[in-house]
């Protein structure tokens, strides 16, 4: 998690943060109005019954306790009513609590689920180029912790709404009871609210920083564990631990600072209602003395203050979570509003059998448009492929072959020029049409945490016979049959239970089973040994599938399968023709494909330089 994740400016002014945070809460209310209503009503019920409890106690003190003890005789009927009243208020309060808590929880979890769905849906819609620009860790945290942070204030939100209702009611009741006590209340409770705002203002930059550091700590762990093998083989555990510790300690220090702020404010927040009660007693005693209120009224007010001490803080909880929520919301919105999804047309590709491929003046650069580090990797690439032909793309490491392969199946769109199947520009095709026609087997294999069958069919309705046939072509039927549950064997996360060669063969079967009309193999047999590769290639040839094939290849045997060869050098086509023609016309090509042979020749005649520079045609 690097630059794109970090806030680019200083934290927003707190008032703005609170306003924006309330905006996010409003979105939540609009998304889940009914469940919010349930929890808010629950919370209000809780508030009313809480105040009701104070009244019940006041009444019980006045009408039951005081007379009974004074007269030395327990009023049985009064006691029964008192007991029932207490239980009834409590029962109503419990209904309120359950509605509030369950409602708030359900609301929070629903919102999380909704936004996780939206964010991940967006991941599926946005083009590969967008994915290239965003680190995996960032995207993971957008879908997980950012969504979570956004809806964090929802948990105490209905409670806070209820508390506000409770405060208003309390002030109203105080006014009715005694103006002096009302003044005390109207000083104490707003003071709590103001203090909460100051609190969140001091806290929010720290919380933002802590959240960011958590992301960084997690990103380091992710990367380091991904590279665990390299770390181990080079004995860099200590260095990696130091790198992790540095961030972890920064997080520790930030959280310690959080502790200081919290240490300052929490005790004050807690003390304020107590001070309020003491003020009520002081003021109330003289009011009782002067006969303005009765002792039971004073008891009621004091009790009310005690009851409010805890719930009032719910407002603080919400306000405290708002800055984090706003940061999360912004990051989620960045995904939801990201543009650049590939545009699709409506055209169909009605034909059958192998497709014609044409690549016309294609240029391509990596990096955001206008970015300084934009690197042009393909220049003016043009070639045609008639249906059913096989072409080999040959070139040195880093010459742009894989990028070209990606463009052929429209994982990326060219900056200039066009790629077309049967003369239809890929950009004019309806969504999904390219995938129906063309299959790419990429250089690095990706398997899903699913069964072997699931990884091959990818949910398509294909019979086991089809799957086995594809596995046979990919030379994977042998090892799959030997797996404990054959097709139903789970391959583990990223296929970790299989070897590189086995994974690659499953990926190949995945392409073959779809009977694509265009098959693009990007060095798709690099992890299997020569004999297996040869059998795979023979299988492809014999499978009778009528497909146009593009091979990115190094091995002569692979190249030999091709009708013609396109030689790519530094992003340009420098030669094209049959293997023999290219050997004669392109020294770069000859150097590349005969490297092994020349090397072998040299090793046999180490001092015979003439042999080494003169490739022998097989």
């Amino acid at each position: 998690m690097t630059a794109p994740n970090a806030p680019t400016t200083a934290p927003a002014p707190p008032v703005r943060t609170i306003r924006r945070g309330l905006g996010v809460l409003w979105v939540a209310v609009k998304e889940e109005p009914r469940i919010f209503a349930v929890s808010a009503v629950g919370s209000a019920l809780f508030a009313i019954t809480t105040i009701g409890q104070a009244y019940v106690f006041g009444a019980i003190t006045k009408d039951v306790i005081v007379p009974s003890i004074r007269d030395g005789e327990a009023a049985t009927a009064g006691l029964a009513i008192a007991f029932l009243a207490i239980m009834l208020t409590a029962a109503l309060k419990v209904v309120g609590i359950v509605a509030r808590r369950l409602g708030a929880g359900i609301m929070q979890y629903r919102l999380q689920a909704t936004y996780r769905r939206r964010v991940t849906r967006r991941y599926l819609e946005l083009p590969l180029s967008w994915h290239h620009e965003h680190p995996t860790g960032e995207l993971l945290s957008n879908a997980n912790s950012d969504v979570e942070a956004t809806w964090y204030p929802i948990a105490p939100f209905p409670f806070a709404v209820g508390v506000i209702a409770m405060l208003v009611t309390t002030l109203g009741l105080l006014l009715v009871t005694d103006p002096v006590l009302a003044v005390v209340g109207s000083v104490v409770f707003p003071a709590i609210a103001v203090l909460t705002v100051v609190y969140s203002r001091r806290m929010s930059p720290l919380m933002t920083r802590a959240q960011q550091l958590r992301g960084e700590v997690s990103a380091i762990a992710h990367e380091s564990f991904d590279g665990a093998l390299v770390v181990k083989t080079l004995g860099r555990e200590g260095q990696e631990t130091d790198r992790f510790r540095a961030r972890s300690d920064e997080l520790r220090d930030t959280m310690t600072a959080v502790g200081r702020v919290r240490g300052t404010f929490d005790p004050i927040m807690e003390a304020l209602p107590v001070v309020g009660v003491i003020a009520v007693l002081l003021a109330g005693t003289s009011r009782v003395g002067s006969g303005d209120i009765t002792p039971d009224q004073l008891v009621r007010v004091a009790y009310l203050f005690t009851l409010l001490a805890f719930p009032v803080r719910a407002i603080g909880w919400v306000l405290n979570e708002l800055p984090r929520s706003v940061v999360g919301w912004d990051r989620v919105q960045r995904v939801l509003t990201a543009t650049g999804a590939q545009e699709h047309g409506t055209a169909d590709l009605p034909g059958h059998g192998a497709a014609a491929l044409s690549v016309e003046a294609v240029g391509f650069s990596y990096g955001a448009v206008g970015a300084a580090d934009r690197v042009q990797v393909l220049h003016d690439i043009t070639f045609d492929l008639r249906p059913g032909r096989t072409v080999a793309l040959v070139g040195t490491t880093g010459s742009g072959k894989s990028t070209l392969a990606t463009l052929l199946v429209r994982l990326l769109d060219p900056d200039t020029g066009r790629v077309a199947f049967d003369e239809v520009d890929l950009r004019a095709l309806r969504p999904g049409a390219v995938a129906e026609v063309a299959s790419l087997v990429p250089q690095s294999t990706f398997l899903f945490d699913d069964t072997v069958r699931g990884n091959i069919t990818l949910g398509a309705d294909l019979s086991d016979a089809d799957v086995w046939a594809a596995l046979r072509v990919a030379q994977a039927d042998g090892f799959v049959a030997a797996l404990p549950d054959a097709l139903d064997t789970l391959v583990g996360e990223r296929g970790t239970t299989l070897s590189g060669g086995q994974r690659q063969r499953l990926a190949l079967a995945r392409a073959v089973v779809r009977r694509p009309r265009l098959l693009v193999l990007d060095d798709a047999t690099s992890s299997v040994d020569a004999q297996v590769e040869q059998r795979i290639l023979a299988g492809l040839r014999d499978s009778g599938a009528s497909a146009t094939v593009v091979l990115v290849a190094y091995r002569l045997a692979t190249i030999a399968l091709a009708d013609e060869v396109v030689f790519v050098d530094e992003g340009q086509i420098t030669a094209r023709g049959t293997h023999e023609e290219l050997l004669a016309t392109s020294s770069g090509y000859a150097d590349l494909v005969h490297a092994y042979e020349r090397s072998a020749a040299e090793q046999q005649h180490p001092r015979d330089d003439a042999d080494a520079t003169q490739p022998v045609v097989a």
Binding site: V66, S68, I69, G72, A74, F83, A90, V94, I97, G105, I106, Y109, R110, Q112, R116, L124, T136, L140, A143, S218, H222, E223, S224, D226, V230, V231, T233, L234, Q239, F244, S248, L251, D253, M255, G263, P267, E270, A271, L281, S286, V288, P295, V299, A302, D373, G395, T397, F448, L458, E493, R494, S499, A530, Q531, V532, R555, A595, E597, S599, Q603
Partner: protein, 602 residues
């Protein structure tokens, strides 16, 4: 890290799960035992917390004093006494606030220090685990064990943990006061709350299960999201967005369902506390009035008692509230401890030996290897590789070549037999010495999200940019480096994604090369590099590694042709060995492999 505990040295590649059998308190105690930082100054912090709690009792006392002696005095209100009681209360509130501040600051300092230490220790342990253990766990789950799981512990310790301490103190103080006023009513209150304790325990275990489920669902969901992101090219190439969306929805919904279920149990638990509190209050009113009517209790004491009952309610509510967090924290702690409790079965020996200076020879003594629960992958391998030789290991896919390399570099230990380097058994060799002198380049040359130079420097920390550039030149890769936009300072992207697979392998080889090992193991390290570059690289490595021992695993037999000696592995057995020229003449596996290879390349 010390030697492995014997009990799991033969176990499978799973992380320690003893924690799941441990109770909540045992888990926390174990965690605190493993993290001494938590204990620092704990007693003082607790005492301060107790002092802070005392403030909460001030209100009922003030109410009682005011009512009994100030307001309800038969001869009329005594303003002086009320003022005195209130003044004393204000002082108590002030002391409470100061103690609260100190408690918070100390608590955060201690817990954060402990948690950071715990996090770093767990992180280190993950790297110290053998590759089998590392592979047994999803990456995302390992990450969450050192991050979010630790965070839940932090949340609990800083919010919930303190609340529990404060609540306990509050209940104790309230009890003392209640006993002073009326032992009968105290008994009554306890009788009411006692069943709640059992009920809470019952709910606690159900909550624990529910929260574990939530955790598991979240983990699964993250796995699916990670697939969506990492597998983006495949999902697009095969047009399986709809299917992926369905998988996502399923896991997102499963998470929500689990969360809702846990919330339901929590809400019920919380409500139970409220009802019990009401019942207790009602009982106190009834009991108190009966007592008062008999002259055993004053009105003020009874009303004060009612306030004290609310001091019971809050802790019970908080306890149930905090139980959520406690469950999370215990589950998180368990998962972190699961890592710390897993012995590093392939461990750095204590006082490990150092490799003798100079070139290293390799000896395998009846080495057998099987993955946990699997059949033998290598059978009884006995061989010696002389120092300074270049050896190629060839064989079909799945023949056991890579296992050979992993045993040689001690990424795994043999099931039986032993491997010796320079005459020293690998298990006695210190990792410092081993990893600096023996370097393996795996097939997947993982790169860190940084520049080429920084990645190469991973091989030798003090390598300068000039040395790194020279390393590429030495390897015949100057041309390649030159065409990069920023040379050695070119960023490689996450996992090296900005480079092609072949280019990543070039950087990985340069990284191993600057490490300057005496034994270099290449595990198909150039499988994705084009032949011309590979041959150039091979030739460069040959001349550069002269005088060292190199062992190359390759399916491209060009490597074997140039090696001093070829080891042919077939079905876990070394079936042939000797120079290429000799083996190719013999009728055997090698001749067959070579014929097939030649037919493809020439």
């Amino acid at each position: 890290m010390t030697a492995a505990a014997p009990e799991t040295s033969t176990g499978g590649g799973t992380l320690d799960s003893r924690g799941t059998e441990r109770g909540a308190f045992a888990t926390l105690a174990h965690g605190i035992r493993l993290t001494p930082e938590f204990r620092e100054g704990l007693v003082v912090t607790l005492l301060l917390a107790l002092l802070a709690t005392a403030g909460r009792v001030v209100v009922p006392v003030a109410v009682q004093q005011t009512l009994d002696n100030g307001l309800l005095r038969p001869e009329g209100p005594d303003l002086g006494l009320v003022r005195l009681a209130c003044g004393a209360a204000l002082v108590a509130v002030l002391v409470t606030a100061v103690a609260g501040y100190a408690t918070n600051v100390r608590l955060y300092r201690t817990t954060e220090r402990g948690l950071s230490a715990l996090r770093v220790r767990a992180f280190r342990r993950v790297h110290d685990l053998s590759i089998l253990h590392q592979a047994a766990e999803r990456r995302g789950s390992l990450v969450s064990r050192v991050t979010s799981d630790v965070d839940t512990i932090s949340t609990f310790m800083q919010w919930g943990g303190l609340l529990i301490v404060v609540s306990a103190a509050q209940v104790s103080l309230a009890t003392v006061l209640m006993l002073l006023w009326s032992w009968q009513l105290t008994l009554l209150v306890y009788l009411c709350f006692l069943p709640l304790v059992f009920a809470v325990r019952l709910f606690q275990s159900r909550l624990e299960v529910a929260y574990t489920t939530v955790r598991e669902r979240v983990g699964e969901m993250l796995g699916v999201v990670a697939e969506t992101v990492v597998g983006a090219p495949v999902i697009r190439a095969y047009g399986v967005q709809a299917r992926t969306a369905e998988r996502l929805d399923r896991s997102v919904d499963a998470t929500r369902t689990a969360q809702t279920r846990a919330q339901r149990i929590a809400a019920v638990t919380f409500s139970a506390g409220e009802l019990v509190a009401a019942f207790a209050t009602g009982a106190v009113v009834v009991g108190g009035v009966l007592l008062g009517a008999g002259g055993d209790l004053t009105t003020g004491r009874l009303v004060g008692f009612l306030f004290l009952v609310t001091l019971f309610v809050q802790p019970v509510q908080i306890a149930t509230e905090v139980l959520n967090e406690a469950q999370n924290a215990v589950a998180g702690m368990r998962r972190v401890l699961g890592i710390l409790d897993t012995p590093s079965d392939v461990a750095d020996p204590v006082d490990g030996a150092t490799l003798p200076e100079g070139p290293i020879d390799v000896r395998f003594e009846s080495v057998r290897f099987a993955y946990p629960g699997g059949p033998d992958v290598l059978h009884d391998v006995d061989l010696t590789i002389a120092a300074r030789t270049r050896v190629a290991v060839v064989g079909e896919t799945g023949s056991g070549k890579t296992t050979f390399a992993k045993l040689l570099t001690r990424l795994m230990d043999p099931t039986s037999g032993r491997v010796l380097l320079g005459g020293v058994p690998l298990t006695e060799l210190g990792f410092d010495s081993l990893r600096s002198r023996v370097v393996m380049v795996p097939q997947d040359g993982f790169l860190f999200d940084s520049t080429i130079a920084a990645n190469v420097r991973f091989g030798r920390l003090d390598a300068t940019d000039a040395e790194i550039t020279r390393a590429f030149a030495d390897l015949g890769l100057a041309d390649w480096l030159e065409q990069l936009p920023e040379g050695v300072h070119t960023p490689v992207g996450e996992r090296g994604d900005s480079l092609s697979v072949g280019e990543r392998q070039l950087v990985a080889i340069a990284r191993a090369y600057v490490a300057d090992p005496d034994l270099l193991v290449l595990d198909e390290a150039t499988s994705a590099v084009d032949p011309a570059t590979e041959v150039r690289l091979q030739r460069a490595l040959d001349s550069l590694t002269r005088g060292r021992t190199t062992l190359a695993i390759a399916h491209r037999l060009s490597t074997a042709e140039g090696a001093d000696e070829v080891l042919v592995v077939d079905a876990g057995v070394v079936v042939q060995r000797g120079p290429h020229a000799e083996l190719v003449q013999q009728d055997g596996v090698y001749a067959r492999l070579h014929a097939s290879w030649s037919s493809q390349t020439r």
